[in-house]
Structure formats: structure tokens, C-alpha cells
């Protein structure tokens, strides 16, 4: 939030200082991407009003009242007013800097209406993956085209936003569009307000899967099978996998030298750990919360914690190895870059894999597997204990590398970090016993915490 606010005030001056041109035009140029990102985030996270309609159906309200209430409620959603933190200060700065006040107000209102349009587009598009993903893919391609200067869509879209400023009354057009969307959303919902119509919940067609090839691992295989199904069949865990894929590209910030502050050699290790450890961090930190919805079952079954944890550990290790292989494209930036990834992976396997499992015991956030809510952070996930555990996850390897790098040479730095990883790997049994004890100690607290619904 503070960042939004800061950007709102600061972006004008930043753009001006960087010599990118007229700040308003620059913002307008990228506005199309901002809007699409907004739509994307809404699609992933914004809660649908339908969920709240059901209990109202039986109460003595007119249908139109119920619909307007549900739709009206979305207007006050965080996803709408969050943008005001950027646009209000930005507009004020524009006026202070001598832009035509009428134009700025027209522009501001026009853009705001567009964000509300997004709100209603999202509602109507609710969970229609077939429409949504191709759309996002198409725009992603456009983004890439723009980056390589093959084709620039902003040339065509920027004037639309500019015109809001140049001819203030044109912003009425976006308001008309908004009204149109509101009316059609209203009618759509009113017409489909039946439990077997628009309010029906989507049921997946289930197929039993055996994974018999995992049977050879005994009890461990039992858990692995379950974990694979968990990841494959739930929205939340799928998001996690996508996020860890995105982490693969995190290293680009470092190795391309596009961010000056990151040019220090020790940051390479930092990048290496994130590139190979995306899954480790995004999945691992929520063990055992992934099983929160049936934790009482797990706790009353004949389960050895060791096997349960081992299964998660193997998943993390396998994912780390896959990430490392996929990130082979860093070879393009030289052996040095890929070496950092490999060394980071070794450290992840040997040390961080334990640390995330350990930290997970303290997180205790129940996870609703079927929704993406809170997928991008949850304040309960940040407590002192887990924060303290991030220090050895990220700072320790940097420190170890730093010692090797500055006292001897870069190669020694890599060797030191890798050795730490190998050393950690050797102590697997000892560490697992320790983690098991912690899990047992935390059992009752964890059960209680998971009882509070996500």
C-alpha cells in the first residue's frame, strides 16, 4: 500500500528525472499493461459475488435487490480502491506541475471507470479459463513483441488514454462502457440466479489414478502418490507450481546486470538459491499446511512422521533438481551464472530443504486448497520464528560465499557453499529426528489452528 502511495507521488518525478519524457504520456503508454495485469490479478484473487448470493436466496428479498447488493459489494472491493492510492496522488502531482486541471480530472475519472470495468468484466468472466488464458497469453506475446520492438501495441492504445486528457469529456465514454457492463452483469446474474444455473458450482470429472510405479517405495510411495494428486488437483497448489516456474527467471535480474545494485558478486548466490529453490520456498514453507483440511485424519492414522516428512522432502528435492535442469538457459550468460544456480541448488538440497520443513511447523496457516485466496502472502506466515529461519536460508550462503570470494577467490566461494550443502545432506537422519520432535511438540497447537477455517 505504502509502495502504491509512494509511486503515486514519486513516479512523476522519477519519470521526469530519468528523461523518459512527459510523465503522463509515459503512464498512458503502459496503461494497457497495467489494466491487463489488474484484470489478471483480479481473476486469480478476487472473490466472486456468487459465493455470497446463495444464503440470500431463501430470504425475503427481491431478486433484483440481491443482485444489486452482491454486485454493489464488489465495488468496495480492495481491488478497486487500491488503485486510488496510485492515481489520486499522481493526479494531484500533475495538477501541481501545471497540467490542465480539467484534463487531469477527465483523465483521472476516465481511467478509474476503466478499472471498474475490469471489476465487472472479471465478474462476468468468472472462472471461464477458456476465455481467460488465451487472452493473457495473447497479451503476453504482445508484451514480448514490444520488448523486442517488433510490434508495439501501445502506439495504438496510448492515444485512447491520452484523449481522456486532451478532450476531458471523452472520459464519459468509459463511463458509458462501465454502465453498459453493470447493466449486462446485472441482467446476467438475475437471469441465472438458480442453484443449477449460474450459481452451480463446477464439478471436476474425477479419474482414479494409481501411480503403481511408486509402490516400490513402500510407505513413502503412499505419501508421494497423495502429494502428487494434491498438487495436480487443487487450484492453490497449481498456482504454487506456476509461481515456482516464474522464480526460474528471477536470476535474469542479476545476470543481465539490469539492476545495478545487484552487480555485487555475492548476489549471484542469492539468485542461484532463488532460481533453483522456487518450489522449495513456495511449497515447502507451507508443509504441513497443505494437509490442513484433513490433519486430524493424518494424526489419528498409523503414520510415521518421518515418512510423511520424507515424502515432502523428496518432492522438494525433485523439484529443485528439475528447476536446476530447466535453468540451464543461464549458460547463455556464461558458466559462472549457471554455476551459481547449481551451487545454490546444492545448498537448497542440503540445508534449505530442512529449514523450510522446520519453519513449516510454526506457520500453522490452514490452507483452502480450492481457492487462491492468500496464495500471495499471509500475515500469519510471517512470525518471528519463521523470519529468523530465513536468515540461514538466504544470508548464510551469501556470507559463506563472501568469505570464500574475498579471502581466496570466487571458485573457493562456490566450493564453500556447495560443501555446506553436502555436509547438511550427510546429516539428514539427525536433522529429521529433530524436525520430527518439533512436529510432535506442535501437534495440538497445529490441530487447533487448522480448525479455524481458512
Amino acid at each position: 500500500m505504502a509502495i502504491f502511495l509512494f509511486l503515486g507521488v514519486g513516479s512523476y518525478y522519477i519519470i521526469e528525472k530519468e528523461g523518459l519524457g512527459n510523465p503522463l504520456l509515459v503512464v498512458n503508454k503502459y496503461m494497457i499493461y497495467y489494466l491487463v495485469m489488474d484484470l489478471y490479478i483480479r481473476y486469480m484473487l478476487q472473490k466472486m459475488p456468487i459465493l455470497n448470493i446463495k444464503p440470500l436466496l431463501y430470504l425475503p428479498f427481491k431478486k433484483s435487490q440481491v443482485v444489486s447488493y452482491s454486485l454493489g459489494k464488489t465495488v468496495f472491493s480492495f481491488f478497486n480502491w487500491a488503485h486510488a492510492f496510485f492515481f489520486v496522488p499522481f493526479s494531484i502531482v500533475l495538477i501541481i506541475e501545471g497540467y490542465n486541471p480539467m484534463g487531469v480530472i477527465g483523465w483521472h475519472l476516465g481511467i478509474m471507470a476503466l478499472f471498474y470495468c475490469n471489476n465487472f468484466v472479471n465478474i462476468m468472466m468468472n472462472n471461464k479459463d477458456i476465455v481467460f488464458y488465451p487472452l493473457v497469453a495473447f497479451l503476453a506475446v504482445l508484451g514480448v513483441c514490444q520488448y523486442y520492438e517488433w510490434f508495439d501495441i501501445t502506439i495504438y492504445t496510448a492515444p485512447i488514454f491520452n484523449i481522456f486528457y486532451d478532450i476531458p469529456w471523452t472520459s464519459l465514454i468509459s463511463w458509458v462502457a462501465l454502465i453498459g457492463l453493470v447493466v449486462s452483469a446485472f441482467n446476467y446474474f438475475k437471469k441465472n440466479m438458480y442453484l443449477d444455473g449460474g450459481l452451480a458450482t463446477k464439478h471436476d470429472i474425477a479419474k482414479s489414478e494409481d501411480y503403481t510405479w511408486l509402490n516400490r517405495f513402500g510407505n513413502l510411495g503412499t505419501f508421494l502418490k497423495n502429494d502428487i494428486k494434491l498438487i495436480k488437483r487443487n487450484k492453490r497448489s497449481k498456482t504454487t507450481v506456476i509461481m515456482s516456474f516464474v522464480f526460474l527467471f528471477y536470476g535474469l535480474l542479476f545476470f543481465t546486470g539490469s539492476v545495478e545494485a545487484y552487480n555485487n558478486p555475492v548476489w549471484k548466490i542469492f539468485a542461484g538459491i532463488f532460481v533453483s529453490g522456487g518450489f522449495l520456498f513456495s511449497f515447502g514453507q507451507f508443509v504441513p499446511s497443505w494437509d490442513s483440511s484433513y490433519y486430524p485424519l493424518m494424526m489419528s492414522q498409523n503414520i510415521q512422521y518421518k515418512e510423511y516428512l520424507s515424502s515432502k522432502w523428496y518432492l522438494i528435492i525433485i523439484a529443485t533438481i528439475i528447476s536446476t535442469i530447466l535453468s540451464a538457459f543461464y549458460l547463455y550468460f556464461g558458466w559462472d551464472a549457471y554455476l551459481a544456480v547449481i551451487v545454490g541448488a546444492i545448498y537448497n538440497v542440503g540445508v534449505n530443504s530442512y529449514l523450510v520443513l522446520w519453519g513449516g511447523a510454526y506457520i500453522k496457516t490452514p490452507i483452502d486448497l480450492t481457492s487462491n485466496k492468500k496464495a500471495f502472502g499471509d500475515k500469519q506466515a510471517f512470525n518471528v520464528k519463521t523470519l529468523l529461519l530465513t536468515l540461514p536460508k538466504l544470508l548464510l550462503p551469501i556470507l559463506i560465499y563472501g568469505i570464500g570470494h574475498y579471502l581466496i577467490n570466487p571458485t573457493a566461494g562456490y566450493i564453500f557453499v556447495a560443501l555446506t550443502g553436502v555436509l547438511g545432506f550427510a546429516f539428514k537422519n539427525v536433522v529429521f529426528n529433530m524436525i520430527e520432535k518439533i512436529y510432535k511438540k506442535e501437534k495440538y497447537k497445529t490441530l487447533l489452528a487448522y480448525k479455524q477455517k481458512a
Partner: protein, 231 residues
């Protein structure tokens, strides 16, 4: 089989369970009745070591449940939907439980064969995940899963709730059969007095966490219970 001593559970200054002494012999079909908040689920959760007793202890077949885990292999339970794994199909769930309890797929299939009537064609081969089944069908899955692996103690919290009449009648038969050879101890809680009196040989009434009645079921039991809860 199960023996509890001086068992209490308090939250803050509120005592939700206070049972001096309770012994459930092997092979008994034991019924627990009481209004909401009487402590039925608390009692079952203590038996399964899902919550810690404030004082006292639970001994299950000579194992103290909050210090050892050796009671788990011979004890099974279905308390509520937190005992189901929503993203599995019923088959996968049964096999998963089976594997945890050392039963092969064939063992599980054999057991499931006995419950075809009970499932009434609504469970197996439905191409649905557990989370998409109706409440009643979810319950059927949970109950049958608790029979997997020849447990000696079976704990069922409100097994009759949400079931359709036919299934209720079948479940009564199933529970009675379990008790026939005196090998399995079954603990059942219910709000339905008729069902409990029909199925259970012994009924304990909980009220505000304390045992107020401990009855060997007879013809008069239903009347006695109705009088108690009606008054």
C-alpha cells in the same frame, strides 16, 4: 479395552469434560448421547489424542494414548469431514487408508465388496472427488474407511446424521454385526435416541461434560432416555 481415569478438559475457566472413571470392555457396542455441547466430540477427540487432557489419562488396550502412539494401528475413527481427503476419489481414499494400515488393494476391494448394498451404487466408479459428493455419501465413505485394516476399536461420531433412511437401517445392521463376535469395540455417538438404543448394549448420557446416566440397554431404556431429555 478403553479405560479413562480422572479425565477432564478445561478451556479457560470452563470445564467441558469431567469424567471420573469410565471403562469400556472389549467387544462392547458403546453409545454416547447428549445435547450439543455435552462433550461427546471432546471425549472422542481425547481418545484419539487430537486434544490434550487437562488432567487424567486415556488407556486404550494398555497404551496411554497421549504418551505412546502404539494405539494407532488397532484404532480407527470417523469424526467429521476432516477425516476425508477432498481431492481424492473414493477408491483412491480407500486404498490410501488401506496402505497406511498395511492392507493390499485386493484386501480393500474384498472389504468394499461387503458394502455394495451400503454404498447403494453412489460411491464407487462415480468419477467424482470426495469434495463433490453429498454430505451423506461423504459420510458413507468415511464410515466404511474406518473399517479398513481390521481395527479393534472403531470410533464413530454421529454416524447416522445425514444418512438416508435405507442407509441408516443398513448401518445399524453393520454395527450390530461388528459386535457379534466380541472382537471389535465400537463407540458411537448420536442424537437419535431410537438408533442408539437399538444398536448399543450400553448407553452413557453426557450432560455438560459429566456422566449423568450409564445404562445397560433394555426395553425400558428408550423411555428412560426420552424422559430424561424431554424433562
Amino acid at each position: 479395552m478403553i479405560y479413562t481415569q480422572n479425565l477432564t478438559k478445561t478451556y479457560g475457566d470452563q470445564t467441558v469434560l469431567n469424567i471420573d472413571n469410565l471403562e469400556i470392555p472389549k467387544g462392547q457396542i458403546f453409545g454416547l448421547v447428549g445435547n450439543n455441547g455435552a462433550g461427546k466430540t471432546t471425549f472422542f477427540s481425547l481418545l484419539l489424542d487430537l486434544i490434550q487432557p487437562t488432567t487424567g489419562q486415556v488407556i486404550n488396550n494398555e497404551v496411554q494414548v497421549n504418551t505412546s502412539e502404539a494405539w494407532k494401528p488397532f484404532t480407527s475413527a470417523f469424526i467429521d469431514e476432516t477425516f476425508l481427503i477432498g481431492y481424492l476419489t473414493p477408491e483412491e481414499y480407500f486404498y490410501f487408508i488401506g496402505e497406511l494400515r498395511g492392507q493390499s488393494k485386493a484386501d480393500v476391494n474384498e472389504l468394499l465388496g461387503d458394502f455394495e448394498d451400503f454404498f447403494h451404487g453412489e460411491i464407487l466408479g462415480q468419477k467424482k472427488y470426495l469434495r463433490d459428493l453429498s454430505k451423506g455419501n461423504q459420510k458413507k465413505v468415511g464410515i466404511v474407511a474406518s473399517f479398513i485394516g481390521k481395527p479393534q476399536v472403531i470410533i464413530l461420531d454421529e454416524p447416522f446424521a445425514n444418512l438416508d433412511p435405507t442407509t441408516q437401517i443398513r448401518l445399524k445392521e453393520i454395527i450390530k454385526n461388528l459386535g457379534r463376535d466380541r472382537e471389535v469395540t465400537v463407540l458411537v455417538s448420536s442424537h437419535d435416541l431410537i438408533h442408539v438404543t437399538e444398536v448399543c448394549e450400553r448407553i452413557v448420557v453426557l450432560n455438560k461434560g459429566e456422566i449423568v446416566k450409564d445404562i445397560q440397554t433394555s426395553k425400558e431404556t428408550l423411555k428412560e432416555l426420552e424422559l430424561f431429555f424431554g424433562g
